[in-house]
Symmetry: C2
Amino acid sequence: MASKEAEFITGDLVLEDELILQVGGVYAPAQGDRVIDGTAHIVIPGLINGHTHLPMTLLRNCADDMDLFTWLNDHIWPREEKHTPETILWGSYLGLLELIQSGVTTFSDMYFMQEQTIAAVLQSGIGAHIGATIMGNEGETRKRLPMLRELHASWQGAQGGRIRIDVAPHAIYTCDAQTLRIAAELTEEFDTAMHIHVSETAKEQDDALGAHGMTPLAYLDSLGVLQVPVYAAHGVFFTPGDINLCRDKKVSVIHNPSSNLKLGNGCAPIHELQQSGVSVGLGTDGASSNNNLNMMEEMHLTSLIHKGWLADPRLLNAYQVLAMATREGARALFRDDIGTLEPGKRADIVMVSTESPHMTPLLNPVAALVYSAQSSDISRVFSSGRAVYESGDFTTLDKEKICAEAESCARALQ
Amino acid sequence: MASKEAEFITGDLVLEDELILQVGGVYAPAQGDRVIDGTAHIVIPGLINGHTHLPMTLLRNCADDMDLFTWLNDHIWPREEKHTPETILWGSYLGLLELIQSGVTTFSDMYFMQEQTIAAVLQSGIGAHIGATIMGNEGETRKRLPMLRELHASWQGAQGGRIRIDVAPHAIYTCDAQTLRIAAELTEEFDTAMHIHVSETAKEQDDALGAHGMTPLAYLDSLGVLQVPVYAAHGVFFTPGDINLCRDKKVSVIHNPSSNLKLGNGCAPIHELQQSGVSVGLGTDGASSNNNLNMMEEMHLTSLIHKGWLADPRLLNAYQVLAMATREGARALFRDDIGTLEPGKRADIVMVSTESPHMTPLLNPVAALVYSAQSSDISRVFSSGRAVYESGDFTTLDKEKICAEAESCARALQ
């Protein structure tokens, strides 16, 4: 699919084991093949949610409509201190239900007590980049290194390559310079990528200019951090210089429109980044600043807000936005095995029903997906060829039990 | 419900005939009463969609991501010229399916061949303000007056007061001064309200300043039009002077966030209007510039974009936004019989299921409705006490037939 025009393919889609074998044309099923009728469906690659904090589902709607620091200091952080392995586990399960239901088959998470999240991901059957999260000063970071190395050694490449351990220093304002350097070294050692918040708020931007005389991204560059593959969440306040840095250092960006708007941060310069050739994926951020993990909504929002912000209805067209959630989202996470429907790619597949009033008439399937569809139109989700969601039923997770346990864990955090 | 805090009521909701009889407390059902279990549901008033062009559902996704005048001249208007009573009828039915499915029980429409839309509305069982649409010069308008008077005489107050005929001059750039004056006289004659597009685009604003030395709203005022009850769709480019005019002349505003963003117009000064005490409702606009008629999405979008636009996460909180789709939406249409759950109001009721991952945990029902819910969470819709939607089924409309006929009508317009 090019950025301006979709490559529509009709015909059969054939999966074998974990991979896509054939796209288009006619396939004669062999004995034992499972055949699914795709009539009245649009079939797209599994969506990629490039920035989440999965267990924050338990903090959904606990505090809204307030300034950022009241929200963090008085509501989010005090509750997060009460987390236990059990709350992390059920919060992760809850998030996985939402991800799957909105068509996500790969996501990148940054939180703590990651083994609990990994256990939930393994059960779910979808893929994840799990952040080896780092915060604090050099001493604290060096103490944590054995634990981070163990996380990587235990889980990198698990579940047939569906689990990846990325290095996730939280942000420049929560990690000292030496910690950021160590994080870059660890990224090289792990041969993975770095996931970090950059230029999310005006305060972060202003503080960096005050303390370092540089933007947050330029500061990371000055520390040598951008020598490793980096994907930056947010980038709301990126300057033209930052955009050039992204281009030159191959930094990719994860755009989180709901969260950026809801917290009053604004609208990231996504059109400018794309014009410079930077890979931009989409993310939901955590459920406490969103307040859901619905990638169909993030696509819709992305397709609308930049047109309004820059007063140009031609920007971020439906094809580009669908690509941000699929092909470009994969590129942004430095992945070449997911994000498109092509032979040899991982069989991450989403079937979207077109049998609803809001998908009628079906004059342009890509515009319908981005502007009209809702996540409830998703009828089936396959991850590495395995059905994880079929006609409203989760095949790998127990929805009723998870919702009940998550509700009770959320009450315990209040 | 106050603008800053919700009044949560638990207990029974009792309907009698077309009205709400009791809210809260315990009701002992009499023989023959129909009892519906509201466990795991949030119950809200029927939503009010203050600005639609219903038959434009047939133009959904026919043309997107282009500049406004290419879109209108090359795509929308040529197709609209092909409309027949049949296409208007099926396009209206299709729109009604979407409205009902997203919880709408009253909407205000502006289009042509209105008898077809009225026929569909009567069948659907929900309420509508139908615009007596006016465009052109004085001569054309005077010729059309008998037809408009007949529309009013035939349908005003039909279906137990559910149908209202408002006067709908399209805009200042499609109606000459004398036509706008006639429209105001007709509004007085009908004793209804006027529905008009105002300050939707930068071009409209600039042209008015050039031609009249005044903003579009000030121009309407100079013609005496604001002496009648007026609800203005859009108001994207309203100046502080326009906001004062709205306040002083009791002009209300219908905010259409999806359409305003998608067409590259921008973001209306809703916070400023509300601060001035102006009633602001919500609308979807037509499906060709949206591209759906989903009021749950409009609420969600409204809750997000103003925070981002004005860099303040405290603005347009969840309570205010829910009110815009209910109580304030009713006020904006000059209605006092709908928009709240109170004894004596029309029994327009929406039941929203909370049994989904994205509605878990349920820490704040209003935030959950605005930030987390999807229209697929709506399980039942009652209009004037009559169930029009129950657990995925339309009780008054034939979804399969309508979708098939609408698809075929849409193809005929291509």
